[in-house]
């Protein structure tokens, strides 16, 4: 058995046994849904349906119904795409990078963070698929033999890299998530009473047994998948950043983009995990598993990545001045003082200044403060992508083509729709899926459970 230092705070609070963990995790699945769940689901589904309507209107009429125009040809679509995919990155970071670093606190949060990744990438995909303008021809993105003399896709283009990166990221994340879910589904199946749910969960577990050989392979597969997902997650956002960085647009053509985007992605994903978990632990009574300590750890990640993002903003500003290129200098001056200076100011406040408040232990261990901050950072990170895209494109090389961008109700509707879809899927997930990786959690009960830690501390004292 593993031993953990006594001064480390326990990760599982209260007097838990293996069976008690089972009971606590299946409670939301076997019990009746609360009225809060129905209320949240109703609101999410309404937003989702409105989004579907706006999406159909876009496909039926053309992307002229969006606010994008001749100068600002990328706007809310790409802003939302980058925002969503960035949010997804925190899930992979928690499940893969923290697994490689053997951080046990990931076990209480990895399942819901990975679910978040999958739903966020689905939302992101909607925007890239739509922004092509003729989404029914999106299969042209793949290198398929065709009737045009087999004219192939251009592999020199970062937009093509994106197709491969995002589809690989989505499918690998899905497999990683599902493989981890199987033993927990088996636990639900083995105690299911209703014939229908027993049948459904039986189908999902693929005949899992949990023998020593199964677990041995399971752990090896998890480790190797984590090892593969770690460089994958860094590559995906680096590739997303090259969509901008390989262009010759002033303000985009910078080598700092890949690391800056990756840090920003993690920085935006952790607040989304916090938004979801702070509500979930309350509604489902999971306070003993997702403890204040877990929330504090996540807030520490937010300080680190937030500071990296802050340094990146300042470096960008310095380099644009130091380069001596007047177009480059103007691009940044325009972001900070031009027509969208309010967006720039919101970005700076939400992303650079406000996370620094987490240096105070009192604030980073406060649930209310963390919840408010998690929303502020998400807004800030949305503005970051908006600031990179819209103010840059509305003031390019030829002043005669300078124009402003105004979102239409369709832009807002599709964005609201993806938020609705994200929450609809997440709410269904919390109702039918084990929201905590209970098998993994049971394996650390004796080393990190409160009761066991206290007992170990007592026997240690007795020796002296």
């Amino acid at each position: 058995m593993q031993h953990e230092s006594e001064i480390r705070e326990p990760l599982i609070l209260g007097n838990k046994s293996y069976h008690q963990i089972t009971e606590d995790i299946v409670k939301p699945i076997e019990g009746k849904a609360t009225k809060y769940w129905y209320m949240l689901l109703t609101v999410s589904v309404i937003c989702f349906l409105w989004g579907i309507w706006c999406l159909s209107y876009t496909i039926g009429t053309g992307i002229g119904v969006w606010g994008s125009n001749n100068g600002v040809d990328w706007a809310w679509d790409i802003t939302n795409f980058v925002w969503w995919i960035g949010i997804g990155h925190a899930g992979t970071l928690i499940s893969a990078v923290l697994l490689l670093f053997r951080q046990k606190w990931r076990m209480a949060i990895n399942r819901s963070a990975e679910a978040m990744t999958i739903f966020a990438v689905m939302c992101a995909a909607i925007f890239v698929l739509l922004h092509t303008g003729r989404p029914w021809l999106d299969y042209w993105l793949f290198p398929l033999p065709n009737q045009f003399g087999s004219l192939w896709v251009n592999f020199n283009s970062p937009l093509m890299w994106d197709v491969f990166a995002v589809s690989t990221y989505f499918s690998v994340s899905l497999v990683f998530w599902y493989t981890g879910l199987v033993p927990d589904f088996a636990m639900i199946r083995d105690r299911a009473v209703k014939p229908f749910s027993k049948k459904m969960y039986s189908l999902l577990i693929f005949g899992w047994g949990g023998s020593a050989r199964h677990w041995h392979r399971f752990e090896e597969v998890s480790l190797v998948l984590a090892g593969l997902s770690t460089p994958l997650v860094f590559s995906v956002h680096s590739i997303v950043s090259t969509d901008f960085a390989t262009s010759v647009v002033p303000g985009w053509h910078t080598t700092i983009f890949p690391p800056y985007f990756v840090a920003g992605a993690v920085f935006s994903g952790f607040p989304m995990v916090l938004t979801l978990l702070i509500i979930m632990r309350k509604i489902y009574g999971l306070e003993n598993y997702i403890t204040i300590k877990h929330i504090e750890y996540m807030n520490i990640v937010i300080i680190v990545t937030g500071s990296i993002v802050g340094v990146a903003y300042l470096t960008e500003l310095f380099i644009s001045w130091y380069s001596g290129v007047e177009y480059e200098q103007y691009a940044f001056l325009n972001r900070a003082t031009g027509p969208y200076s309010w967006a720039y100011a919101s970005m700076m406040t939400c992303n650079v200044i406000s996370p620094q408040l987490f240096w105070f232990k009192k604030l980073r261990t406060s649930l209310t403060f963390t919840f408010i901050m998690s929303i502020i950072v998400n807004i800030g990170m949305w503005f970051e992508r908006f600031v990179i895209i819209v103010p840059t494109l509305c003031r390019t090389f030829i002043p005669s083509s300078w124009n402003m961008y105004h979102p239409t109700f369709v832009d807002i509707g599709i964005y609201t729709g993806t938020i609705g879809m994200f929450f609809t899927f997440f709410l269904l997930f919390t109702r039918y899926f084990p929201v905590i990786a209970q098998a993994e959690l049971k394996s650390i009960l004796k080393s990190s459970g409160q009761e066991f830690k206290e007992k170990a501390a007592h026997s240690h004292d007795a020796h002296h």
Partner: protein, 172 residues
């Protein structure tokens, strides 16, 4: 001589580990152990061979890398070289920096999916397959140890298992 399988249920993993160690020291082979979570250290005791699934992943990864290299060479350089934005495709090595991202993604894609498929097949886990745990409680909080032995030894082993802390014993 007829063989018999003894199923011993434990409430905790530590006595099970101790019993498995004792059985091994007496030269009795443990057939299998079913548990709600991975018990670290049990593999060595009951003799689970090290899985070669990571080696498979490496081979799948190399395959993915070669596939992507071949695909991009064939499409961009061999079949129909195009000149987009003043970046002609004369030879593979000239464009290779631009091909690295997709080569990497394809490596990861093939390694991850190939390994996952191998894992599911090796454990024989497919939709509709019957659950392999003999006792449904082993996914909750019980630990099951199975010993296969000859009829005449069974009383001996049963005593050993009971002494080790087994809460239930049954024969299959």
């Amino acid at each position: 001589m007829s063989k018999v399988a003894i199923h011993a249920i434990y409430d905790d993993e530590e006595p099970l580990m101790a019993t498995a160690k004792e059985l091994r020291s007496k030269g009795i082979k443990v057939k299998d152990v079913f548990s709600p979570f991975p018990i670290h250290g049990i593999d060595g005791i009951i003799g689970v061979p090290r899985t070669r699934i990571a080696i498979c992943a490496f081979i799948y990864g190399i395959t993915g890398m070669l596939l992507a290299t071949w695909m991009m060479w064939y499409m961009m350089v061999h079949d129909w070289p195009t000149d987009v934005g003043g970046k002609p495709s004369f030879a593979y090595y000239m464009n290779v920096p631009a091909f690295i991202p997709i080569t990497f993604e394809s490596t990861v894609l093939c390694a991850a999916h190939g390994m996952a498929i191998t894992y599911y097949l090796r454990c024989w886990m497919l939709p509709g397959v019957k659950a392999k745990n003999p006792d449904p409680r082993t996914t909750d909080d019980k630990f099951l140890l199975i010993v296969e032995t000859k009829e005449e030894n069974k009383n001996n082993i049963e005593a050993l298992l009971k002494n080790g802390g087994a809460s239930e014993i049954s024969y299959k």
